[in-house]
Symmetry: C2
Subunit: 110 residues, 2 copies
DNA sequence: TCCATATTTCCAGCATAATCGAAATATGTA
DNA sequence: TACATATTTCGATTATGCTGGAAATATGGA
């Protein structure tokens, strides 16, 4: 992953509303969530949310797909993994004892 | 980790110069790097770098310690782990097959 | 066709962030 | 003390990002 792409992803996530939206999508899994449902849960104006989803989408962190009148958004887990990997790349100056805890960012489902 | 703190960390990293500085510190390990050394490697003006290191520091991602005339900066690996954990929290809607690759953000030293 | 729902696009105003030069502070040395 | 090095702070300018209202687009149903 190149620096530019990482900065775009981080900038997209560095916003309270967008971060909340992204995390909801991450938690939603492969079903994703419709824009309206996200707006309701996050209590955001539809146009503001749309602009923010657009930013996440351009950063490659989410995808969108029309389903009837709704547009369903989904997290792009690959992009997320690339981003996390970029941050820890060549980490710790060769000290596994520092590095090991970083690898334990486990989630209940794993 | 609360949302505010995560946003501050992500905003701190969402900048080409700061991201590069942080990654150098992550790679430097426990020795850290002096501000001047960072400025040289990153080809940044000392005052600009100082402002950026201050932002990373306030976000809790790095620490500073005076050593003679220099000030040595070090990555805060705990803060980094918290941030990564926050992003993947309750992920994947209970689908380990989606989630598993996320846990493989391994680094050579681990 | 007409209307309601779902979402996006456009626009303008406001707030925040980035950068640089210059000056200030702190440390070490002759 | 006087000076060089290392780094930070200050101040001003410029650029960028965020928000909300209004209008536009797209879909589905009566």
């Amino acid at each position: 992953m190149e620096t530019k792409s990482a900065v775009a992803s981080l900038a997209a996530l560095a916003h309270e509303g967008r971060l909340a939206a992204f995390r909801l999508l991450v938690q939603a899994g492969s079903d994703g969530l419709a824009a309206g449902e996200l707006a309701r849960r996050l209590d955001m104006l539809p146009n503001t949310l749309s602009a923010n989803l657009n930013i996440l989408s351009h950063a490659g962190l989410i995808t969108s797909q029309r389903d009837g009148r709704s547009i369903v958004y989904r997290a792009q887990y690959d992009a997320m993994r690339d981003l996390l990997g970029f941050l820890v790349e060549d980490c710790c100056g060769g000290s596994p004892e520092i590095c090991a805890p970083l690898m334990k960012v486990a989630s209940p489902c794993c």
